[in-house]
């Protein structure tokens, strides 16, 4: 037998022996052996009724981490800097390199933790997976907030979730659409990734509003998976208007790119279709002012990053703990029409102040 063949055989046998040992001969600790240290659990006393002032934020390094690059999260960047100066935090970062992949986002988070960041405001890419990430972070003693999206199901493993109630926002948008078309006719719902639990909630919100009309309003099959980029959304809107434009009286959009594409598409087609958009991008607000867009449902990204940053600083500095970890709070959604397009931001700022008061009552502080 040639030497190389003998070597290969020995290597293969040794390799298989190692694998066999790993599988059969070794003992693996059972789940009961886990000595994971639940985070942020140091007892604190006293509670607050009003907003709590952070005593010392210098030990807190705050990371705000969206799922990936998206216009919605751009206000987080400036708000993170505001958090740093206002709460005198040790450091802040805004990292959007998750590229809409949960595995990549997990890597980004662990890298930031290795760099010394100890308080995380996270928009989880996958609502069904993000609790796993939260549990890992909490087990390592970090303060964690779920921002702009809550985990799917009934459990939130982060310290708190501050997010738009997407089903309620979609319901409001659908109601605004139904009002805009005069309470009867056919509407269509344009949205994002179908295999995302948040999209399923949005679909449910629109269906609920349509159901309440008692058959006066009907809904065409939902158009999903068109929030990838503007071009995809524009093509879908052009196809929809070409095939069913005369039948449709209203379009309700619950994702950013379909909203922009629908506003542009309907304006270009001159069809008498009412469009209700999502978010308050400058393009959409201009559409509301010109009448091309009937309404939009604005969310509260600044409030999420500001209140979330304040709360994470309180938790990260160990000044406070949550009375009921995992609490879920709606950051608010606001229907914007031509009537309130210049004033809706005041309403939003008021809501942000209310959020601080609401969270303060959930805290137990030293």
């Amino acid at each position: 037998m040639p030497k190389s063949a003998l070597w290969y055989r020995r290597t293969a046998v040794a390799g298989l022996a190692v694998v066999a040992l790993a599988v059969s001969g070794c003992s693996t600790k059972s789940s009961n052996d886990s000595t994971a240290d639940p985070a942020g659990d140091d007892a604190s006393t006293g509670s607050s009724g009003g907003p709590v002032t952070l005593k010392d934020g210098s030990s807190v390094k705050l990371a705000l981490i969206p799922g990936g690059a998206h216009p919605y999260f751009q206000p987080w960047k400036a708000t993170a800097e505001l958090d740093k100066t206002e709460f005198k935090l040790g450091d802040v970062t805004f990292d959007e390199t998750g590229e809409w992949d949960q595995s990549k986002q997990n890597n980004v988070i662990s890298s930031l933790a290795a760099r010394g960041f100890n308080a995380f405001g996270i928009f989880g890419v996958s609502p069904t997976d993000i609790n796993t990430t939260f549990e890992d972070l909490k087990a390592k003693g970090f303060a964690v907030g779920s921002l702009a999206s809550c985990p799917a199901g009934n459990t939130n493993s982060a310290d708190f979730c501050l997010s738009t109630d997407v089903e309620a926002a979609a319901y409001k948008a659908a109601k605004a659409t139904i009002d805009a078309i005069g309470g009867e006719g056919t509407i269509v719902h344009l949205t994002g990734n179908n295999v995302d639990s948040n999209t399923q909630r949005r679909i449910a919100g629109v269906k609920k509003a349509v159901g309440e009309t008692g058959g006066k309003v009907t809904e065409l099959p939902v158009v999903t998976d068109i929030d990838k980029d503007l071009q995809t959304a524009q093509k879908a809107v052009a196809d929809l208007l070409a095939s069913k434009g005369k039948e449709i009286k209203g379009i309700v959009t619950t994702a950013y790119n379909p909203a922009v594409a629908a506003a542009d598409g309907v304006a270009g087609s001159k069809l008498p279709i009412k469009v209700v958009a999502i978010d308050d991008d400058a393009k959409i607000l201009a559409g509301i002012k010109s009448g091309g867009v009937s309404a939009t449902v604005a969310q509260n990204p600044v409030g999420q990053a500001y209140v979330g940053g304040w709360l994470l600083a309180l938790l990260g500095s160990k000044q406070c703990t949550m009375k009921s970890p995992g609490v879920i709070v709606d950051s608010g959604s606001f229907v914007v029409t031509k009537d309130n397009v210049d004033t809706y931001d005041d309403e939003r700022k008021t809501k942000t102040k209310e959020l601080q008061t609401e969270f303060a009552s959930q805290l137990s502080c030293q």
Partner: protein, 360 residues
């Protein structure tokens, strides 16, 4: 663990463009692609470690890095199996999603245990891979076209099943042991009082098993040699009495099975089984094997090379993450470093060839 088609058969086929590694002892050690990659990985890891000492943080950096390398190595092996016969599998990610959908159903609806569900997924992956191979062998249509068509088919089918069977477009049932499998390291495996390293995830054992099995098949078995012969020249393989159609089906079935294993590793490390599993698999599936020396044209594979190629890209990405490189620059730096890495490899090969010419 690299496996060229046997020397005799290669000589008989008189293929002119064999890679340097196939010429036996004529290539100097420093021109070996795998050694070059290993040196690069070590150098880059050292560089990142010097720039950011946190790079060697066992819990927060090394553990997740090795978990990623393990998973993408299995993804690379899935592609390597079909590359060995000169084919491609563009549905490698969707095969992972399909297999995990079956695994998810087995956990959610049939209440299977963790490993029983994995077994069901591996069988489903092998079956969908074999189907692709059968269509290719039966119709003679290029593997690129068949697997692309299969990818589209599964792209439509998988979300339909998920939306039909689940509330949140994901199977969230976690069988006993899944959580531990994600978090446990070799430090949790002890022989007597001796335990392993806390930096090495237990999940990496799946990659080790896959590497041992694939390496053994290609280097030690008749099946492996026949697969490589089929990749080198189908006609010559047929004339040698090799049932090439069956080997095509086998290679694609192996590919599907490994894709399923990679999908399982991803599901375990992220937490649930969802329709989007495998969406990010296609490019890394080519990157690892090709960087590692596996030929696109078939006939030569390298299991170690796949591991090192995968490690190279993962180390670069992790290092850049730690350096805080922003989104705009991340992929530019990643591409530039890979380009430089491949250029040095080419320079090494040219120098080696010149040395050979001088020796003659």
């Amino acid at each position: 663990m690299s496996a060229p088609v046997s020397e005799t058969a290669t000589a008989a086929l008189q293929e002119p463009d064999q890679p340097p590694a196939q010429r036996g002892g004529k290539t100097p050690w420093w021109a070996n692609q795998r050694i070059g990659l290993l040196v690069l990985v070590v150098l880059l890891a050292t560089l990142f470690g010097v720039l950011r000492p946190a790079f060697f943080n066992q819990q927060l950096v090394v553990f997740p890095l090795l978990r990623d390398i393990a998973m993408f190595t299995v993804v690379g092996l899935a592609q390597l199996c079909v590359l060995s016969i000169g084919h491609m599998n563009l549905a490698v990610g969707r095969m992972a999603a399909f297999s995990m959908m079956i695994t998810g159903i087995s956990y959610d609806l049939w209440h299977f245990s963790l490993y029983a569900g994995l077994l069901v997924g591996l069988i489903a992956g092998a079956a969908i891979g074999a189907l692709a191979g059968w269509v290719i062998a039966r119709t003679g249509v290029n593997s690129f076209v068949v697997t692309l068509a299969l990818d589209f088919l599964l792209l439509g089918l998988i979300p339909l099943v998920y939306t039909g069977l689940t509330d949140n477009a994901a199977f969230v049932t976690k069988p006993d042991g899944m959580r531990e499998m994600r978090n446990y390291s070799l430090a949790d495996i002890c022989i007597g009082n001796v335990c392993g390293s806390p930096a090495v995830p237990q999940l990496a054992l799946f990659a080790v098993i896959a590497m041992v099995v694939v390496g053994w098949i290609y280097s030690r078995t008749k099946l492996g040699r026949e697969l490589l012969m089929t990749g080198t020249s189908v006609k010559a393989a047929e004339l040698s009495g090799i049932p090439t159609a069956r080997r095509v089906i086998t290679a694609h079935a192996m590919s599907g099975c490994l894709a399923a294993l990679a999908g399982f590793m991803l599901a375990v490390s992220t937490g649930s089984i969802k329709a989007t599993i495998g969406e990010e698999f296609m490019l890394p599936s080519f990157l690892g094997p090709i960087l590692g020396g596996t030929l696109l044209a078939g006939g030569f594979i390298s299991v170690w090379g796949t591991l090192l190629g995968t490690a190279l890209t993962s180390v670069i990405r992790k290092g850049l993450d730690l350096l805080g490189v922003g989104l705009e620059s991340l992929n530019i730096y990643l591409g530039l470093i890979l380009l430089v890495a491949l250029s040095t490899d080419r320079i090494r090969t040219v120098l080696s060839e010149r040395q050979e010419v001088r020796q003659r």
